[in-house]
């Protein structure tokens, strides 16, 4: 059935509603699989309560977590400069009707405008391509996980072992604060700013998508096994489920640099995507940016 495209602000409301109330299928599957393997009784209680909450949020149409976060938008394909204003309009509307918690404040005065807007908010990344569609993706990022973000400008001689050490320490030092088990987004290379952006973009990829780079894929798998052998467990209370996945993106960097960034997604890694063509809007919950 062909559905005529809705206005962009309404599409943004739909995206935020979907992201906040319905856990992406790949994340839900990973949680279920983890609950199947987990032996620690306390960890099983935590995972059971998480899955119970996910079901309730979806059936009641309520945000699964009270921290409805800061939404990060990615606009890809063809678009014009008016789309930013439409996204802001949609976010303001969504804050009232879903409702979302008004989270944005002035960084120093802490004044809260109450509508999730304000200078620089929300963050929108633009990726123009020659495609015939416009793809709007949103990642909903709570502060518990975002506050655990780390960037290291390693020495090139630290190599792949140094990268592993830094990623593992970042996740383990965070303990229960970022609401494990979640997804570990990693950026390797680029410049400092680009490296952190890649770590965050990695969280948009579905867990069952394959990293095209065999070296990165092996690194993802290695870190996944090692982190889940650490004993940190759900909510940092112990167990064998510390991460649901590790996702890595990389870029070339300066010959004197080895930047590494870690951006963790909590168990409620919330994402939604709308692909808009002339006569259709297709919704999904993950994207390769």
């Amino acid at each position: 059935m062909i559905k005529l495209p809705e206005p962009v602000d309404q599409i943004v409301v739909n995206l935020l509603k979907a992201a906040n109330t319905k856990l992406p299928q790949d994340v839900g599957w990973a949680l279920e699989a983890a609950a199947g393997w987990e032996n620690d009784p306390m960890a099983r209680t935590q995972l059971g309560a998480i899955m119970d909450n996910v079901k309730k949020a979806e059936s009641l149409g309520r945000p699964m977590c009270q921290d409805t976060g800061i939404p990060i938008f990615y606009v890809k394909g063809r678009f014009d400069s008016s789309i930013g204003a439409e996204i802001r309009k949609g976010l303001k509307k969504a804050t009232e009707i879903i409702p979302l918690r008004p989270n944005t404040v002035d960084p120093l005065t802490r004044r809260n405008p109450g509508d999730n807007l304000g200078k620089g908010m929300p963050v929108i990344h633009y990726i123009p391509t020659d495609d015939v569609f416009t793809e709007i993706s949103v990642l909903v990022k709570g502060a518990g996980s975002e506050n655990m973000t780390r960037l290291a400008m390693l020495n090139p001689s630290d190599g792949i072992e140094g990268v592993k050490r830094f990623v593992a320490d970042s996740v383990l030092d965070a303990g229960g604060r970022p609401c494990p088990p979640g997804i570990v987004g990693v950026g390797i290379g680029g410049t400092a700013d680009e490296c952190v952006s890649m770590a965050k973009e990695a969280l948009m990829s579905p867990l069952d998508s394959d990293n095209g780079d065999p070296v990165l894929k092996e690194l993802e798998e290695d870190l996944f096994v090692r982190l889940n052998s650490s004993g940190l467990g759900p909510m940092g209370l112990g167990g064998s489920t510390t991460v649901l996945g590790v996702k890595i993106r990389s870029a070339y960097c300066h010959t004197a640099s080895l930047p590494v960034a870690v951006n963790i997604g909590c168990w409620a890694t919330r994402r939604a995507v709308a692909r808009i063509t002339d006569n259709n809007v297709e919704y999904g919950q993950g994207a390769e940016l």
């Binding site: 309560a49 998480i50 909450n53 918690r101 518990g144 303990g175 229960g176 604060r177 940190l232 940092g236």
Partner: protein
């Protein structure tokens, strides 16, 4: 499984052991960074604070609350990261004899010390389980200090069988988080 009813005093707190699973019924209050700062500041300046903080159960939570007629309805209310309140919590516990803190991620050894001194426990709620936890809230009053905003204001909740909550820091200075962190396998 332990059913706990508020208000409770030091004796009840001292009986709780690390790893116990608790379901809580009764009145609790919410507070995060802003509420902690305001409460402590007021006490230092000899200004009054809202009633109900003394010997309370303090929930580290910034809920989503919607207007419902003349009252309020809690849409989602999971725990926030407790470590942000590490610096103000020892004073809160000592000044107000807080009996239990509900949060996620655990708190510092200094907070643990204040807890064992006055008789207080840390109850770990499941982070992000905001709908399930909101469902256990059967009444909501407030907010106090509404100028702090929806998330930071102090709300009063009446809860019924709120849980599962795990005793993750007991009143003898033991911490499940510390046990897990010190036993982590970090081999790479």
């Amino acid at each position: 499984m332990i059913e706990l009813r508020t208000p409770f005093g030091e004796d009840a707190v001292r009986k709780l052991k690390l790893g116990d699973t608790v379901y809580l019924t009764g009145d609790i209050i919410t507070g995060r960074d802003g509420m902690h700062e305001r409460a402590i500041e007021n006490v230092r300046q000899n200004r009054p604070v809202p009633e109900g903080i003394e010997e309370s159960v303090l929930y580290h939570c910034g809920p989503i609350v919607a207007r419902d007629g003349n009252g309020w309805r809690v849409v989602a209310a999971g725990p926030t990261t407790s470590a942000r309140m590490n610096s103000s919590e020892p004073e809160m516990i000592r000044k107000f004899r807080i009996r239990a803190i509900i949060g996620k991620g655990g708190m510092s050894a200094e907070v643990g010390e204040a807890m064992s001194e006055t008789g207080c426990v840390y109850l770990a709620a499941v982070g992000g389980a905001a709908v399930s936890l909101a469902e256990s809230i059967i009444g909501v009053r407030g907010p106090e200090w509404s100028d702090l905003g929806m998330a930071e204001a102090m709300w009063r909740f009446e809860v019924e069988a709120m849980g599962p909550l795990i005793v993750a820091m007991d009143s003898e200075g033991n911490s499940l988080y510390e046990n897990v962190m010190s036993g982590l396998i970090r081999d790479i």
